[in-house]
Amino acid sequence: MTLVLVETDATGAIEVSRETLTFVRELAQPVSALVVGEVPDGLADQLGAYGVVSLLHAQGTAFTTYAPAAWAAAVVAAKSASGAAVVTAAGTPRGNEVMAHVACRLDVAMAANVVTIDGTDPLLVSRQVLGGSALEELRLDDAPAVLSVAGHACVAKPADSPVSTKVDTIDVQVSDDDLRAQVARTEAGEPDESGALKTARVVVGAGRGAGSVDGFKDLVELADLLGGALGVSRVVTSLGWRPHHEQVGQTGSRISPDLYIPCGISGAIQHWVGCSSAKTILAINSDPDAPMVTKAHYAVIGDLHKIVPAINEELRRRRRA
């Protein structure tokens, strides 16, 4: 049995959790899912489509707000209930955090951001190291094997044949110690508008090359002229230049537009996994050797702050003509 900690939103299992459910089929074991807290409507059917035979549900006052150790207690209880030999979650901040807690509680190793399963006896995995520029082949001898699956390591795909998912509530002993670190309150972030980004036919990308919080005007204009959306690198969201829902990549959205125009984005692997399914990529970058340039179909070399306004002007000129 494989146990997957599934994260949900109002619509069901989030994309990276569905990717993880897809990824673990490689292990050729039946799959149980654990959901902590509220279960969105229709989740059992959705998980059934992904081949999940059993949905374990942890609920109660301990889970009203996020407490990583309490979640880990739920995972350990679900592990016992399901007899899972492999325990996983998507490599989200929460997934990695909870898996690390689980590994401590079970006194086993934890492999973060796994991208491939290379062997099952013994379990061999490859995981991202050095910010994704290299992979580490790792042997996981402990039972259970605890790991997280890197975001967008595969494409979420329902199983060939759906199964009916048995739903059970599990009993979780949460100690006071497990609630020492618990979310006291949450300040609402910007509304998640990543829907438009994920479905846009054209996405204009912006990275550190944008230069500052004021460096996005021309890029937004280009996106508007093409009826597209703006997507950004993690550097841009980390620096607070743009909201997180615009981020493309491993810890952001996966996009598959007809055309992606990354401007001032180097093309790190964590960004690349989010944009590699674009049909055509046109990179704009001052460095002809940037990975984004060498991996693109087309490129323009130079300063985006000169090139993008010129493209906007040319588009407007031809429309007037």
């Binding site: 995981r127 979310v183 490129a299 070399i301």
Partner: protein
């Protein structure tokens, strides 16, 4: 008064190109500089700010060879006032080994009457990216832990920490002593000044050796992702390429 211990790791500053050693067990660092991850730079900054705000002290710790003194001095130069080097071959230490070795130091200092109310680490190390040393340390010390916090503030006997959550900013209020792992983005780390560097030279670094043998990480080997031959067509350089770009947009049928 909040005394803070901040843990940093010396890692190769690879930039882009990476070469592996012959046995593929590590990266070839002969021609690269070294640094610490941006998360840890922010952790150092938070340690200094917290110490200042509460009249406490910030101590920096690193497990590695004597080469790690370079990174330790950098942290001293920006305002840490104490330093510990756990002299060990970092490559042989898996994340559980590192956590155990750090816990040993924390316990040993406790015996001497030096307690750390707060231990800060990076969310993930820039090289191994294990995402766990901080959490393992918290279990070894039996303390609460929050991962991925971007800002912190000590209020009385608690620390208020903010972290990017699934639906906005999650705010944790955790009783001290605690362990926090830091994610970059909440604050700007300061740069060392010349007087800061001079001062750093005078600080004595306590050197300790860990007890017991490390279990290791289970690494079999490192691999570099295969490089695909580039198929890129360069449309031009600079703004002169605009016409070629718009031609392409028209060909792709996206220019409306």
């Amino acid at each position: 008064m909040t005394d803070v211990l901040v843990c940093i790791k010396r890692v190769p500053d690879t930039g882009g190109e990476i070469t592996l050693t012959q046995d593929a067990m590590s990266i070839d660092t002969r021609y690269v500089g070294h640094t610490v991850s941006p998360h840890e730079e922010c952790a150092v900054e938070l340690a200094i700010q917290t110490a200042k705000a509460t009249d406490g002290a910030a101590t920096v710790l690193s497990l590695g060879s004597a080469d790690s003194l370079e990174q330790i001095r950098d942290a001293l130069a920006v305002g840490c006032t104490g330093a510990v080097l756990i002299d060990a071959e970092a490559e042989k230490f898996g994340p559980a080994d590192v956590a155990r070795a750090i816990a040993e130091v924390v316990h040993a200092h406790e015996q001497e009457g030096r307690t750390y109310d707060l231990v800060l680490l990076g969310n993930d190390a820039a090289d191994t990216g294990d995402f766990q040393v901080g959490i393992r340390l918290a279990y070894a010390l039996d303390r609460p832990v929050v991962a991925g916090v971007s800002t912190i503030e000590v209020v009385g006997d608690r620390v208020v920490a903010r972290a990017d959550g699934a639906d906005g900013t999650d705010i944790f209020e955790v009783e001290l002593p605690a362990v926090l792992t830091v994610m970059e983005g909440g604050i700007e780390p300061r740069y060392p000044s010349i007087p800061g560097r001079m001062k750093a030279k005078r600080v004595t670094v306590e050197t300790v050796t860990p007890t017991g043998e490390p279990a290791g990480s289970g690494r079999v080997r490192l691999k570099l992702p295969p490089t695909q031959p580039s198929q890129v067509e360069i449309l031009g350089e600079g703004p002169e390429a605009a016409a070629a770009v718009v031609d392409l947009l028209e060909r792709l049928g996206v220019s409306r």
